[in-house]
């Protein structure tokens, strides 16, 4: 008898699959294994970049929930990451809590603080909410600097290396695998939240909050939940970053970091998990790529390039972002979708 043409779904579980076909599943598995094995072969600098990318992905996914899915612009994300970092430092150092427990605990503490600063979202939105989140950034940074008995102020808070059941993650390579594992779990969890009823509620609030309210979506509950989930992820990113840096200072969690994360999700594509991932990778690698390109490869042409190059690098960085947004305002995720669509239909145009 003839076989069916195309993909058939014969169970609800298959219908809810993250990856719709076996081919996609195999490809993603191979990609995942390649990234895992990459950690063996690359040097310490590349490992450092990969760790930075992993942490950026977790943070960007968090901001994606707040801004991308729920439509609430937040410039307090850097401060929330700082709360996660300092929570990890204080829990492991002063309270002696093991890393494996301190990690989710730090994220929960950050979620609580994020929910508190998300309360204004009930009454204000848009640029007004943006100002409220900037206030969160300023207040939290101020507290990090001036509560010296708790945070050691600008002298920095030393953080012990991450350790799970006696196994210490004290090298870049070991830390890369820890970050990789946590990032994978975070991506899966985010994907499932995004396609659950909570995720749909977030999108409804973003698109038409009044209509969402009319049909029964509890605005206060879901806006606060978005801040909670977003801050949870930010706290997780900070809690993972702190042991890697081994010393944290408030200067690392400034408004610049918040703007950087906002840029990540805008460039990557608002409202999608893949967009947050692409944006995190792009914005982490671009400055380093430009630096190496300009400083090392240009040296042969302009001997004193190191003096004139920094400004050119900054200008190029801004130009690339602007050009990118002009030609693809929906971000890298949209480019990915179009490429996928093209090859799905190839060689047919439609």
């Amino acid at each position: 008898m003839g076989e069916f043409c195309g993909d058939t779904i014969e169970s609800y579980i298959r219908d809810e699959s993250v990856f719709k076909t076996k081919t996609i599943t195999i490809c993603v598995t191979i990609l995942g294994c390649c990234v895992a094995l990459m950690g063996l072969g690359v040097n310490q600098y590349m490992l450092h970049l990969l760790v930075s990318i992993g942490i950026a992905i977790i943070g960007a996914i968090g901001l994606s929930f707040i801004t991308g899915f729920t439509g609430m612009i937040s410039l307090g994300h850097g401060a929330f990451i700082g709360v996660g970092a300092y929570s990890m430092a204080i829990l492991t150092d002063r309270l002696g809590i093991p890393f494996i427990i301190a990690l989710p605990l730090s994220a929960l503490i950050t979620a609580g603080i994020g929910m508190f600063f998300g309360l204004p979202s009930m009454r204000i939105k848009g640029l007004y909410l943006l100002m409220a989140t900037i206030a969160a950034q300023v207040i939290i940074t101020f507290l990090m600097i001036h509560c010296q008995s708790l945070t050691m102020g600008l002298n920095g808070y030393p953080v012990k290396p991450a350790s799970i059941f006696g196994f210490e993650f004290d090298t870049e390579r070991k830390y890369f695998y820890l970050i990789y594992a946590v990032t994978l779990i975070c991506i899966l969890a985010a994907k499932n939240v995004a396609r659950s009823r909570h995720g749909r509620a977030f999108v409804a609030i973003r698109d038409q909050d009044i209509a969402a309210d009319v049909i029964g979506v509890n605005l206060f509950k879901y806006k606060t939940l978005a801040f909670a989930i977003g801050s949870f992820y930010a706290g997780l990113a900070g809690a993972l970053w702190a042991p890697y840096l081994s010393l944290i200072t408030p200067e690392a969690f400034s408004l610049d970091l918040s703007i950087g994360y906002l840029a990540m999700i805008v460039v990557g594509g608002l409202g999608s998990i893949m967009g947050a991932i692409y944006g995190a990778i792009f914005m982490t690698l671009l400055p380093e790529f430009l630096k190496i390109l300009m400083e090392e490869h240009l040296r042969g042409f302009i001997p004193d390039a190191i003096r004139s190059v920094p400004h050119i690098k900054n200008i190029l960085f801004g130009l690339i972002i602007i050009t990118f947004l002009i030609f693809e305002p929906h971000g890298l995720a949209e480019i990915h979708r179009r490429i996928k669509k093209y090859f799905k239909l190839w060689p047919f145009p439609y």
């Binding site: 063996l40 102020g153 594992a181 010393l247 380093e288």
Partner: protein
């Protein structure tokens, strides 16, 4: 959990986790060892950020010294390769730069921003790489937390002590009132902490503190508050643009800068500050652990002139960078034929006693218990006609 892993397709997670578990067995420890012919030293000065006007001459000074030494045959037959990248006063970029240069095999690193230096000093201790920095706060010479970190001159602590002592000597028997005007960053807070500590030690009254950032272009509100405090001295850990703003606005609100003596440390004293501030900075006094380009009678400064025959003037920060490179080079020179590693360099530096830098700094001494190399500080006044700060004292040694 079932939904999360999407069984049966959730099974795809296991190859990934197994690959990671297998890979964790293999680790490749890095080591900082120089090759036979070349010694690599890394740095991440601020070339485009808020302190770039001091970052650029600093890095020129470091490079200038290494180029000079290489032109004379290097150190013990080995050339110095100076690896440099723009840190932009950004901590993640500075730490990424450090990691990149560790991969390249550096044995020493010269840090920049206060926060970045702190983090790099921690990492450097783990990787056994010697760290010096443009920021010379005492916290960077903490042997317990950063055993590989050195300060190649007198620290901010000694600079502020010298200036406060000068104020007290000018006003014998008077209980002076002080204000501190500092930026709200690591550098500002470290210097402010130092000032507070010494003021308390000397029994002087701290009557106020104001925040003026590096990038601020108006300090009128802060100066109006200071005007009401009737202070005698103002201690300003600032850079040249911000001190020019402070002095301009102090005069604007009617503060008599002869009665309220403004002191600035080395980051704020330079020709840019004089150019921006003009007559407003005429009463400013600066403190620095370094001599100036204009003091060409000093053998060490003469060497800088010889290395830069085409230059009419070099900024104070050039001398700072030159001094950092000079101290590292002395440590490398004392290694002789020994293997050039970070660990050996650390021990070599700790063996330095009363090293004469030719007047660039006061004599340098380290030990396993002390990583602050110098104690001497010079005081400077602006020469508005000449356009630079000129020394009003030789090296003084605050207690």
């Amino acid at each position: 959990m079932e939904r999360l892993l999407n069984r049966p397709s959730g099974i795809w997670l296991w190859p990934i986790f197994l690959s990671m578990a297998a890979a964790l067995v293999f680790t490749l420890p890095g080591s900082a060892v120089a090759s036979d012919k070349v010694i690599k030293i890394g740095s991440c000065p601020d070339l485009s950020g808020p302190t770039s006007e001091v970052g650029k001459p600093f890095s020129s000074g470091v490079r200038g010294y290494f180029d000079y030494i290489n032109s004379k045959g290097g150190i013990n037959g080995r050339k110095i390769e100076y690896l440099e990248t723009d840190g932009s006063y950004n901590i993640p970029q500075e730490t990424a730069a450090f990691k990149r240069f560790v991969m390249d095999g550096i044995v020493a690193f010269i840090g920049w921003s206060g926060g970045g230096h702190l983090q790099i000093a921690q990492m450097a201790s783990a990787k056994k790489i010697v760290v010096l920095g443009a920021s010379i706060s005492d916290v960077f010479a903490n042997i317990q937390t950063s055993p590989y970190s050195f300060i190649h001159c007198a620290s901010y602590d000694q600079v502020w002590r010298a200036m406060i002592d000068h104020a007290m000597n000018k006003n014998p028997g008077k209980k002076l009132k002080a204000v501190i005007i500092y930026p709200d960053n690591g550098y500002g807070h470290q210097n402010a902490d130092t000032c507070r500590k010494y003021l308390k030690e000397k029994g002087l009254e701290l009557v106020g503190e104001e925040i003026v950032g590096f990038k601020d272009i108006d300090a009128t509100a802060q100066m109006l508050k200071i005007q009401r405090l009737n202070a005698d001295i103002a201690l300003c850990p600032q850079v040249e643009p911000s001190i020019a703003v402070i002095m301009r606005d102090a005069k604007k609100v009617g503060i008599d800068t002869k009665k309220l003596q403004f002191y600035v440390n080395l980051q704020g004293m330079g020709p840019v500050g004089i150019k921006l501030g003009g007559k407003n900075v005429e009463d400013l006094i600066g403190g620095s652990p370094f001599s100036a380009w204009e003091e060409k009678d000093l053998p060490g400064i003469k060497m800088i002139h010889q290395a830069n025959p085409d230059k009419k003037a070099l900024l104070p920060w050039y001398v700072h960078g030159w001094a950092a490179a000079l101290v590292i080079s002395e440590g490398l020179r004392r290694l002789g034929d020994k293997e050039v590693t970070g660990e050996n360099l650390k021990k070599s530096l700790e063996s330095i006693k009363d090293f004469d830098t030719g007047g660039v700094t006061s004599p340098i001494s380290f030990s396993p218990e002390n990583h602050i190399g110098g104690r001497g500080v010079k005081l400077y006044r602006p020469n508005l006609q000449a356009g630079y700060f000129e020394a009003m004292t030789d090296f003084i040694y605050p207690k």
